[in-house]
Amino acid sequence: MRSRAGLFLVFAATATPLAAQSSQFGVRGLGLPMRPLSVRSTGTGGAFGLFDSESSFNPASIGLVGFTTASFQTVQSWRRSVSPAGVATAQDNRYPGIFVGAPIGGTRLAISLSFSGYTDRNFSIASRDTLILRGIPVETTDTLRSLGGVSDVRAGIAWRSSSNLQLGLGIHMLTGSNRINSTRRFSDTTYAGAAEQFTVSYLGMGVSAGVVARLGRALTLAGMVRADDKLRVERDSTRLGTTKLPVTVSGGARVQFGDQFQLAGSATYRSWSSADQDIVDQGGIGSVSTTEVNVGLEYLRDPRRPNNLPLRLGFYRSRLPFPVIRGQNINETGISIGTSKRFVGDRAGFDLAVAEVWRKGGAGFTERATLLTVGISVRP
């Protein structure tokens, strides 16, 4: 027990820099929505997220945790963004997820604590303009940089009613901040550059509930619902307002074909339009509700050792909630591939997923990104 407690403390202490890959579509609203998935689920396009015990999506899936498990993942992103102002290539590295779960000995309960990205608002945008200063045109270069986002800290518990039915409940705390840095520089160096910095911080709560039910030998169904309260927004300790957060409803099915092959699909709806008025009131463009569909498969080379280099493939398509231009929806399409490997008697290992993502926002905004997600898992 001492080692388990220590593990919890280690992950809790390293949990602050939560964020994920950046995007030009993360500039507006609360940023780019994150998907609280494990690397395994990421490799299947998110299709296995409702069923995966190391994902922080469906609290019922915690019931599938058979051992004390801890995992950590990081994402390296390379992207090419096109906007009416030009083309940019960018790259960044983020640490979007930590998960610790364990069964409670002698009971049918399992618990978990996880940290994942809720929205990511890491961006740096640059623009040029010409001002007339003292009667003379002076070219300016403005840079606006934001670091941070909203993180989702979930404490979850699941009850394994039987090997075919798990129920779960999660309590979520949404917290985080954006450190905003705005600079303006002038081509005429007799004018000094200027900068301003401030921090926008967020705090909110939410609950989630889910179920995983196995129907027969081949079919497993899962569903979850999540409701988040209003997100409190402050700028340098001054209250800016609140943002109503969406209700999330998701359902999916997994079909087992023999011992080696399984296919899953899921759909998720998030009522982000409920935040529209709050975001407009805070000076933003607004938000729209989103739907996401995911399809994925997993092929096990060795069913007795499922994590010995399996093949995972996935596809997903979703709408992003925060448009750059009102009325112009942003769609995201991704394909992914992944695998994993365990060592030392399955007590440690890594997971790997590579995703190619296309985002289109209308009005000339497009983006293509390659995301390399690496996770490590340990079972102390």
């Binding site: 030009q24 009416p84 940019a88 960018a90 590295n93 740096s124 945008i125 905003i180």
Partner: protein
């Protein structure tokens, strides 16, 4: 333990290989930016009426950094002089004094500045009475600069050393006499086809004062020691200048031999305090007439902030100064950027919003600009401030 070692190695390798950031993306603003960038504005503040003054006497007569010599320059007609102490007539070689028989002598002046566009500029070196001091007038010096007292002329076309070499009968002209207490006085004037001037290093300038070097021979068995030199450095040097009369209260005047400085006071706009970022602050001074000085040898107008406003003796803010090279003969408004000084006026504990203006080199320049004061009907001193106000971008 093997599990944690494995985890540590993987994390370290990943961190080294992948932890890079390059985020910036171009966008069109303000339409597509989450909020406006910093708001830039411009304002002008005029100096407080009748709170500006000229003070004179910051420099002792012996502290001048340069000697001025000119011929009818509008900025001032100037003559320079130098005196040399009684010199020895022998040199000590191998512990013994040997009488020095002179062959030649060189008088060296270090030229700091001149108008190179005036061709044929010459320094005329005269022998004058060594009984001379800083109260000696230009007329009194001029009276001694006669053809009979002329030692010679030095053509001056560039900065650096200017040497007058005397030999033969010329040496007789610098012979020491008891009536002068065996001291030597030299007077300098400028000969040129048009009004111009020359600045020469004084005793206070970087170890290059007027110097006299005597070359001669001694009688000694060792032939390698026959040729000897004696060097004498001027023990006093100064100049007399006839300048235009000091202006009235409607003008501010800086420069001059005694060092005149002007203090100008402003009211820092309260609206800029706390939140404004000063992007540029420019002091604008309007010349009361064509700026006087020596072409090709500009002086700098120096502006400093004050730590406390106690009038003429206000202490300066350390390490904060702005300067502008003053042109000659122009009447256009002179603009000096002083963002750092003005920036201090908006700090939490700001210094007085006052400026002290002077000339560099003070007391050693022909520049003597006059500007309109706050008592003038127009052209009062003012500061243009361009500032930015925070816009708090990053809207959702």
């Amino acid at each position: 333990m093997r599990v944690f070692q494995f985890a540590a190695v993987v994390m370290m390798a990943w961190g080294l290989a992948a932890c890079q950031e390059r985020l910036t993306t171009p966008v069109d603003c303000p339409e597509l930016c989450p909020g406006n960038s910093l708001i830039v504005r411009d304002t002008t503040i005029e100096a407080i009426f009748d709170r500006d003054s000229t003070y004179t006497g910051y420099l002792r007569a012996t502290d001048i950094p340069a000697l001025l010599v000119s011929n009818g320059l509008p900025a001032g007609d100037a003559r320079a002089w130098a005196t040399f102490p009684r010199r020895s007539d022998s040199v000590t070689v191998d512990g013994l004094a040997h009488a020095l028989t002179l062959d030649s002598a060189a008088i060296t002046f270090h030229v700091l500045g001149l108008d190179k566009t005036v061709q044929g500029t010459q320094l005329a070196v005269h022998r004058i009475s060594p009984v001379i001091d800083t109260n000696t007038t230009l007329a009194a010096i001029d009276a001694q600069l006669t053809p009979e007292s002329l030692l010679g002329t030095i053509a001056v076309s560039d900065t650096g050393n200017a040497r007058l070499v005397l030999s033969g009968d010329g040496l007789l002209k610098i012979a020491l006499v008891e009536a002068d207490s065996f001291r030597l006085g030299l007077g300098l004037r400028v000969d040129a086809p048009s009004p111009t001037g020359v600045r020469i290093a004084s005793l206070n300038f970087d170890s290059r004062p007027p110097t006299m070097t005597l070359y001669g021979k001694i009688v000694i068995a060792d032939t390698s020691k026959v040729r000897q030199t004696l060097t004498a450095v001027a023990d006093s040097a100064n100049y007399a200048i006839n300048t235009p009369a000091p202006p009235g209260q409607e003008h501010l005047f800086v420069g001059g031999k005694n060092g005149s400085r002007a203090i100008i006071r402003f009211v820092a706009p309260p609206a800029l305090k706390n939140s404004a970022i000063i992007l540029r602050a420019t002091l604008e001074l309007t010349p009361a007439g064509p700026l006087l000085g020596l072409k090709g040898d500009p002086a700098a107008l120096e502006v400093r902030g004050v730590l406390a406003d106690v009038g003429a003796k206000s202490p300066y803010l350390a390490n904060l100064r702005s300067s502008l090279q003053l042109p000659v003969d122009v009447t256009t408004v002179q603009s000096i950027d002083l963002r750092e000084i003005v920036g201090t006026w908006f700090l939490t504990s700001p210094p007085p919003s006052a400026l002290v203006i002077g000339i560099n080199p003070e007391g050693g320049s022909f520049a003597r600009p006059e500007f309109f004061s706050t008592r003038s009907l127009s052209g009062r001193p003012r500061i243009r401030i361009t500032y930015a106000l925070p816009s708090q971008p990053g809207h959702p």
